[in-house]
């Protein structure tokens, strides 16, 4: 029974669908990068959309080429991307808060006021120290 199935056709269809969905996600997140109102929301859009899109595209590629080596490498790339991209996003966001990048005016900052005040006053001290040196 297994001989009657056209595996190449099935593989091509599955991998094409996965790659197309991945490309669509990446395109949408790039449009979001252009038209969202402030830095933090833009970064939310671009990092996650790109990560999911990359995962889908690589999975589709691994299925299409159909070799154990390829699948191993694809799995490793996806795993490391999922581990590292949130760390990068977190560091960029933290740096932006320290450098006083403004939030969108409709953002609810009630619970964040204390932290912002502390962080920015500490930052000001830091700048003053640098000037004295």
């Amino acid at each position: 029974m297994l001989d009657n199935i056209n595996f190449l056709l099935i593989r091509e269809i599955v991998s094409s669908v996965l790659i197309i969905i991945g490309v669509v996600f990446m395109t949408i997140s790039t449009i979001g990068l252009l038209r969202f109102p402030d830095f933090y929301i833009r970064m939310s859009a671009i990092t996650k959309g790109a990560t999911l899109g990359l995962g889908l595209i690589l999975t589709g590629m691994g299925i299409y080429f159909n070799e154990p080596d390829m699948f191993l490498k694809v799995m490793l790339i996806i795993g490391f991307t999922f581990l590292t991209s949130p760390v990068a996003a977190h560091v960029i966001g933290r740096t932006a808060v320290r450098n006083k990048i403004p939030f969108w005016e409709r953002t609810n900052l009630e619970e964040f006021k204390d932290y912002l005040h502390k962080e920015h006053s500490a930052h000001r001290d830091h700048e003053r120290d640098n000037k004295q040196v």
């Binding site: 297994l2 595996f7 593989r11 996600f25 949408i28 997140s29 449009i31 979001g32 038209r35 969202f36 109102p37 933090y40 929301i41 970064m43 939310s44 859009a45 990092t47 996650k48 959309g49 990560t51 999911l52 691994g62 299925i63 159909n66 070799e67 154990p68 080596d69 699948f71 191993l72 799995m75 999922f82 581990l83 991209s85 949130p86 760390v87 996003a89 977190h90 966001g93 933290r94 808060v97 939030f103 969108w104 409709r106 953002t107 609810n108 900052l109 009630e110 619970e111 964040f112 932290y115």
Partner: protein
């Protein structure tokens, strides 16, 4: 956790070697490779009650956690995509301070990574005494910050604590 990583590596390398150097009865493709790896992990899981009793109960919860995370990932991505493609902004962003119940380094790192991977939420910082986690989130309905906190605490944190304790 250590047992899981060891079992995962054994299953991965086992199925890899089976298809590369063995004499496979199955045609090679991604589907059968995953089936063989899952089968090896299942056999290893059945042997665990003899030397690692808690792992026997934790694996179903881990699978549940992974399924929940993938569901959240796709749903949130679609929600952000919808907001990008329609002209008006439906989002109401806010910065929320979530009180943490997890304490160790590993748990906090995992929780923060998972929160940042879910679209629409971005972790900014942890307070110095490790009690609060500052999180930038889109989609707060009717300024109800408590529901966002409830969602994080009962969705991700509870499942994570079941796994690591």
């Amino acid at each position: 956790m250590k047992t899981f990583i060891i079992h995962f590596l054994i299953a991965f390398i086992g199925s890899y070697l089976y298809f590369k150097y063995g004499d496979p009865m199955l045609p090679y493709n991604a589907f059968w490779a995953v089936v063989v790896a899952v089968f090896i992990m299942f056999v290893l899981w059945l042997t665990t009650p003899f030397y690692h009793r808690t792992y026997f109960h934790k694996l179903p919860r881990a699978l549940n956690f992974i399924a929940y995370f993938l569901k959240e990932l796709v749903v949130a991505n679609l929600r952000v995509a919808y907001d990008i493609l329609t002209p008006n902004y439906r989002m109401k962003p806010a910065v929320v301070a979530v009180p943490l119940s997890v304490t160790t380094d590993l748990e906090i790192t995992l929780l923060a990574n998972i929160i940042t991977l879910t679209p629409g939420s971005l972790m900014i910082d942890i307070s110095a005494d490790r009690k609060l986690l500052y999180m930038h989130t889109l989609y707060v309905k009717d300024n109800d910050l408590e529901s966002v906190k409830y969602h994080i605490k009962h969705g991700f944190e509870r499942r994570l604590m079941q796994l690591t304790r």
